[in-house]
Each structure stands twice: as structure tokens, then as C-alpha cells.
């Protein structure tokens, strides 16, 4: 599967997950967004040598994976993108930070080793947290939550439109690349002679499409402001979810 079609199916898959009829999907998007950001901030604020606390903080993703019946294996694939950079940054810690703190058999455990493991765990947890948010909340709902915290409409509308047209343009780009690869078999990537014309054609088509989009939006009464359809209010269960996780994370971070 090409990168383009892979991305297309990934978006489709995430939309299917977010549309499921699970209790976690019905929690107010703003509550889920706040809990996610609070969890990520809590995880990354832990001291780099405090491995035990980082391990304990794994309770949030584990609980949401189980209670929300979200596939763990799907989320593991997403870690591959951030893990190389995190590992490159972390791998030097054992080399420069060599203070021995413990021994396991003949192996000396240094502070550098601990900070490297902590860093990798933090990286994995934060990716899981973002995955859990998007697996249970559609982009439309996240944008709605962003509007509730008074993010400018122009930015939110633009994000929504970008998201809406990503699938369309991924399909179009995939068609172009399929046509190109059929005419240039066994070639890795696009030949430099057609760099400009290949992407340029996609660009010109996109701009023409933008004109059509604007024309159709105008016909439907667009006046610069996007009005979301599904406006929902916070329920008691939403406040409960927020308070429970806030309390759990504060206890895990500062009390235990």
C-alpha cells in the first residue's frame, strides 16, 4: 500500500473509531481535550529519573484502552513515527550520565539508563493519550471544543476545511501517482524532471477546487463564520469524568 493510500485508510479508520457507540465517545469533546492535555502535561512534568512515577502514570491509557474497548495494536503502529527521534535524543543519556544508582546482577544501572527509559515511556504514553482522544472524538467535535474555548473562528474553520479536503486530495494525489508509476515502473519516487509539473498539476487542480468550494459555500449562505450543527452541553457524567481523572492524576503525580 502506498503512503498516500495508507494515509487515506488511516483517516477513514480513525473516523470509524470515533463514530462508534461507546461511552467514551459520548463524553463531551471539551472534557476529553482538557483531560488529554492535562495528562500529557502531567507525564512530561515528571522528573527524568522518577521511573516509578512514570510507570504508575500508565494507568490512564490502560484504563481508557480497556474501558473504551479501543484496539491497543492500532495505537502501537503510531508510536513508530515519534520513537526514532525520542530514541536518538535518549540514547546519549547513558553515555553522558553515568552515575551508578543500582546493580542488577553484574549490570550497573546508571542514571542515564533510567532517564532514557523514562523518556521513551513518556513518548509512548503521550502518543497513546493523543490516540485515545482522536479514537473517541471526531475532528469536528475537537474543533467544536476549540470554539468553546474561544479559539478564533477563522482558524477553526480553516482546520475543518483542511481536514475535509485531505481525503479528497489524498485520493487525487494517489491517482496521479498511480498513473505516474504505471508509466515509470521500478522507479522509486518522482523523477526530478517532472517534480514541478506533477505537483504543479495537483496544485492547480486544488486551487480550482478551492474556487468551486467557495462558490458552493457562498450559495449555502457562507459569510465567513462556520456554524457547527451538533452543539452539546456538558452533562453530569462529563463533569464526573473530568473530576475523577483530575483527582487521579494529581494523586499519582504529587501524593503517592
Amino acid at each position: 500500500m502506498s503512503k498516500l493510500s495508507g494515509a487515506y485508510y488511516e483517516i477513514h479508520h480513525m473516523e470509524q473509531l470515533a463514530d462508534r457507540d461507546q461511552w467514551v465517545n459520548h463524553i463531551h469533546p471539551l472534557v476529553k481535550l482538557v483531560v488529554t492535555v492535562f495528562y500529557i502535561a502531567t507525564v512530561v512534568s515528571v522528573n527524568k529519573y522518577d521511573l516509578a512515577r512514570v510507570l504508575i502514570l500508565g494507568v490512564y491509557p490502560i484504563a481508557v484502552f480497556i474501558l473504551g474497548e479501543i484496539s491497543f495494536t492500532d495505537s502501537v503502529r503510531r508510536v513508530r513515527l515519534i520513537l526514532p527521534l525520542v530514541c536518538i535524543v535518549g540514547i546519549f543519556n547513558p553515555l553522558f550520565d553515568r552515575q551508578v544508582v543500582a546493580h542488577i546482577g553484574n549490570i550497573s544501572i546508571t542514571t542515564g539508563m533510567i532517564s532514557m527509559v523514562t523518556l521513551i515511556l513518556k513518548g509512548v504514553y503521550t502518543v497513546f493519550a493523543t490516540y485515545l482522544l482522536i479514537a473517541a472524538t471526531t475532528i469536528e467535535k475537537i474543533c467544536y471544543a476549540m470554539r468553546l474555548v474561544h479559539l478564533p473562528g477563522i482558524l477553526v474553520t480553516q482546520i475543518l476545511l483542511t481536514y475535509r479536503y485531505i481525503s479528497v486530495l489524498l485520493k487525487e494525489a494517489n491517482t496521479i501517482m498511480q498513473a505516474y508509476s504505471l508509466r515509470a515502473p521500478h522507479q522509486k519516487g518522482v523523477h526530478f524532471k517532472v517534480w514541478g509539473s506533477l505537483i504543479g498539476q495537483l496544485l492547480l487542480r486544488s486551487i480550482d477546487r478551492a474556487d468551486n468550494v467557495y462558490a458552493s459555500m457562498s450559495l449555502r449562505g457562507y459569510n465567513g463564520e462556520f456554524h457547527g450543527a451538533g452543539q452539546e452541553k456538558c452533562k453530569g457524567s462529563d463533569y464526573g469524568y473530568l473530576l475523577i481523572w483530575a483527582a487521579v492524576l494529581v494523586i499519582l503525580r504529587y501524593v503517592i
Binding site: L81, T126, T130, L155, Y165, A210
Partner: protein, 332 residues
Amino acid sequence: MHMADALISPAVAGTMYVCSAVAAGYSIKKVRLEADPKKVPVMGVMGAFVFAAQMINFTIPGTGSSGHLCGGMLLTALLGPYAAFLTMIGVLLIQCLMFADGGLLALGANVWNMAFYGCFLGYFLLWKPMASKNASRGRIIAASILGSVISLQFGAFSVSAETLLSGITELPFIAFVGTMQPIHLAIGLVEGLITAAVLVFVYESRPEMLYQAQTQKKDRMSLKKTLVILSACFVVTAGVVSLFASSHPDGLEWSIERITGSTELDAAQQSVYHTSEKVQEHTAILPDYAFKGDDSVLGTSVSGLVGSVVVLAVCAGACWIFTNNKRKKAKV
């Protein structure tokens, strides 16, 4: 260059969120001032375009590796710095949420590292002075390459600085910077070349799409205008400039004169030459570029004009016959 949440501390992440928010707030104000209702839909679609285009790999000749487009520089050249910056925020947020490419907490830092430099430095430092006025292929290529390289260098340096300030790595700052900068120099060059190729294509096909670029591409002159100018030149040259023709012998006559002592060959007494000279005397309507038996200036001008018209008619006729034959052959 997308930073993960694990690579940044909450304090640094918060600071970068504030910096990016200030830039975003100013950009929103500027985009609103443009009062172009079409701008937001165009930004949305262009964001989706950058997202899709960045997934296409471009072969780097002679290396076996590939690179992709520099979104910030391309968008700033098409939408302007403010709209481009807001569009890049959308792209980075979706990359973060849908593909875990960059963290949610590190979004402020990623926006700064990848969107701010590409859009604002790329525009004000390079695109505006180099390509906004008198845009040309060379200027667009230079601005794209320099813009991509410089913005990536600043971005890579910011990643190193943010990681250092977050206290994440034990790697010395100089070593980290020394690793990041050269890698991103090569990446910047490739991204710059790809961006340049796309922008040159736009410049060639739809130059009006480039943001504030005064493309002074000369329009092709119409056939009518061309014919009028050529006719004027022909009348002036044949009718007026011919009066100032040199009375000295031309190259061939000069050579003959050097050998025989005269510009005319003494061959008229021989029968063939004598006959042909007689024929020429009868057929020539303007002998020696003048009326018969009249050495007036008017004769020279008329000779120039008549000669030119006859040459033009012969050439046009020959061309017509040649083209007509070709068409007939093509039909067969």
C-alpha cells in the same frame, strides 16, 4: 522535525504556545483586514494540498534517497505569510492528531519551528525582496532554495534549543546542534529544489497565483501588430535608408577591382554575355536602382520599395506552396 511531547517540558511548551499564539493572533488580524471571503476556503484546500503533497516522495538524483515539499515556503509564496502561517497550523494539528506526527503539547513549538520560520522569514527575508518585484524564474528558484534552507536551519536550531531548555537530553548542546544543522542543510536544499520546481511551474502556467508577485512576463505580440511594425521598418529601410546606400564597391566588386583594375568584367564582348546583357537591359524596369534615363532620388526609393515587395511576395509564395504541399501529404 516534528517534536514529540516527550522532548519538551511543560514550561518550554507553554512558552512556545504563547509565542505561536501571538503570531497566530497577529496573522488572524491581518487576514481579517484583507476582507477576502474567499481566503478561508482557499486556505483550507491549500492546507489539504500541502498535506497530500508532502506524502509524495521525490527522487534525489544520484543518491537513491527521496525528499518532500517544503510546505511553509510554498504556502507563503501562494497565500502570503499570514494566511500561510494559519494554514500550516491546521496542517500540523491534523498531522499531530491523526498521525501522531508531533505532540499535542509540543504543537506550539512545532508551529514555531516549522510554520513561523517558513512563512514569515521565508516571506519577509526572501520572497518579498527577491520575487515579489520583477519575479523571474531565477529569482523564484533562488528565493525558494534559500527560503527552505534558512527556515529549516532556524527550525532545527530551535528544536535543539527547546530540547536543551527542557533538560531532556544529556547530549551537549554543541554536539546536538552539530548533528541537527548539517542534516537539515541537506534536507533544506532538497526541499528548496522541489518547492522551486513547483513555484516555477506555477509562474509559467498561472503567474497571477503567486502572492503579490509582479510578474512582468511579456505578452506575445499579436500578428497584426507584428505585421504593422515590420511594414513600417520595411518602408523606412527600403524607401528612406536606401538613399544613404554607399556608392563604394561591395566586397566582390572590390576584389575584382584589385585584380583587374575595374569593377566590371570585360566580358560583354563575348556572345553569351552580350546576349544576356541585352535581355537584362530590356527586362530591367529599374536599372541600377533608378528610373530609366533618370538619376533622381525618387527612383532609388521606389527601387527599394519595389524590390522589397517583390522579395516578400516570392518568399510568401514559396512558403505557401511549401506549407500547402505538406498539408496535402499529411491528409494522404
